[in-house]
Amino acid sequence: MADGLITLTIDGVPVHVPSGTLVIEAAKQAGVLVPHYCYHPGLPVAGVCRMCLVEVEKQPKLAIACATPVAEGMVVRTQSAPAKRARTSVLEFLLINHPLDCPICDQAGECELQDFTFQEGRPGTRYSPDYPKRFNPVEDFGPDILYVPNRCILCTRCVRFMEDVAQEPVLNVSERGDRAFIGIHPQGRLDHPWAGNVVDLCPVGSLLSKDFLHKARAWELDRTASICTGCSQGCNVTLDTRDDVVVRVRPRQNLEVNRYFICDHGRANYRWMNRGDRVEAPLVKQAGSEGYRAVDWDEALDRVRIIVGGASGKAVAFASPRAATEALFLARHLLGGFDWTGAFQLVMGDEEPLAGVPNLALRAERAPNVHGAELLGYTRDMSAALQAAEQSAVVFVLDDPQVSVRTAGAVIYLGTVMPEADGATPDVILPITNVAEEEGTFVNRDGRVQRYFQAKPAPGMARPAWWVLGELLEGTGNGARGMPLACAADVFDLMAESMEAFGGLSYAKLGLVGRTLGQGAGVPA
């Protein structure tokens, strides 16, 4: 075998892992998930739940897989009779005081206690129904967190997260024995900007999100891989939708970016995706009146093609850094024949780092695609762009930036909602989709290109911005290639061809975890 790798056997399957790996992680390579509660790859090992007991050959007693490092020639049996019997007994102890309230528990369906009890628990209880279960009232831990002590199995994941990862130790295990519960500092609150992660870490329904409380059952949710739009960190998230409404944002593992965590800002940043006041049809300004007329896409696109085709001189594109890289690229590609200025509007906030994880923070730049926009030649300098807009022939407004444009030329507005800012009224309003309704990529602050996927259908006739701009590109002949842009991947390929920074990348290569751009700076082709 290769150097530095240790060979061991788990359930008869030989595995090769680096020295220092824990048996529980090595077992995953053998395709065995050892039941566990206190172990979590993002937290220090505690070994308190005793759930991951496995049999190791030539060791007199069962060993906990989460705290046993691998050794050369080790033979581990996770499914042997003594190991299974021991785990069944641990489950029986955990269930002594666990209430039978799965029907009203938010964790039901994604509960590890349910899963492992179903897998290897006792079919019935040996305790009399007259025996009273431990009862403690529900506690309010923080702005978005409830603690239900009755359901707690004292795995201490939350305690270790606050102590070692957030490094704000406000939780502990109070009392002892069967009276033990998770206690909070009497003057403390669970209001750390990253505290919401304890809800995800909790293997049972003991720590609950107030925001998600009673909202949906786990089995009703559809899950879609996405990227958080809260800041330029670009955390990988999962959008949980129920009946085409986004109801929850959860972290998605990416060891290079956010590991297993997302901040509370990103967790709560989903309501705008469900806005009901969307533009649902292309609108063109009526000649001689203030009003708009709803038209079909062909007519609206023709109108824009006439405007863009007949203009020359200066052009300005105002974008929001929430727009996909594909849309930003096509917008500047479309305006290639003009004296072009691009700007985006950036909301700034406070930086909130997660102390225990290097290079992970809620960034001050509160938009996901700042780096991508800058790479494509857009600047943060809104005032210069606003000045340039006054003399320009065409102004593109992309993805709802809050700008009031003063211009002599035509304004083409691509947005999800009607323009709110005052200023020049757009000549054409084209409805586009938001991040939950389209496919695309963002470039995070470290230059990592990451894909997001469509989680729900678009309202009405709204189309992705890349599609709208791609159709326009076909008509104006500004560098259109022979093939139509049929999907977001085609746009990305076109971008990879013409932009050196994106060279060699494709949707297939990005996959679910993304790729970092090459060291070469973004030189326009």
Binding site: C102, P103, I104, E220
Partner: protein
């Protein structure tokens, strides 16, 4: 174009209907003296010989607790198991912090009366009823809301018990 019709010659005693008629009337009138088996629905709905099965699966009923509130905790299992997709449920929280259904509606038109909702219910709240008189004057009345489900008074189905498969 005449058609040749063969005319049979039969004695009058064979061609007369009188005897057959009298035989039929005799059978008919003999029933007057036999026991009655017809039930006078709707005045009569059961007799000593026949009652509706306790396993009958008819329109639903939601059971209530001592305070008159629906026992339902909005766990979402019945909409999940329902093969006809006829249950609409929106969970919420009441003043005491209990989980309860904000909206609970069953579309009895879509329902196929399989009884899975009763079988799956962990709180023994929703039941199919021993009830078959469901007519209404408008279609929308067939969507039973929570209030109506709680107000039903008919007995609930015992369903089929696997340990007592013949119902004895």
């Amino acid at each position: 174009m005449a058609i040749g019709v063969k005319v049979m010659k039969r004695p009058r005693t064979e061609t007369s209907y009188l005897r057959a008629t009298l035989q039929g009337m005799a059978l008919t009138f003999s029933h007057i003296f036999r026991p009655k088996v017809t039930m006078q629905y709707p005045e009569e709905k059961s007799s000593k010989d026949w009652t509706i099965s306790s396993r009958w699966r008819g329109t639903h009923r939601m059971l209530t607790d001592e305070q008159g509130r629906a026992k339902c905790v909005a766990c979402g299992l019945c909409p999940q198991i329902c093969p006809a997709n006829c249950i609409k449920l929106v969970p919420g929280e009441d003043e005491q912090g209990h989980r309860y259904p904000l909206i609970y509606e069953i579309d009895e038109f879509r329902c196929i009366f399989c009884g899975y909702c009763q079988e799956v219910c962990p709180e023994e709240a929703i039941h199919v009823g021993v009830h078959y008189e469901n007519s209404e004057f408008s279609r929308d009345r067939f969507v039973y809301d929570l209030e109506r489900l709680c107000a039903q008074t008919h007995p609930v189905s015992t369903l089929w018990d696997p340990s007592d498969s013949k119902g004895e």
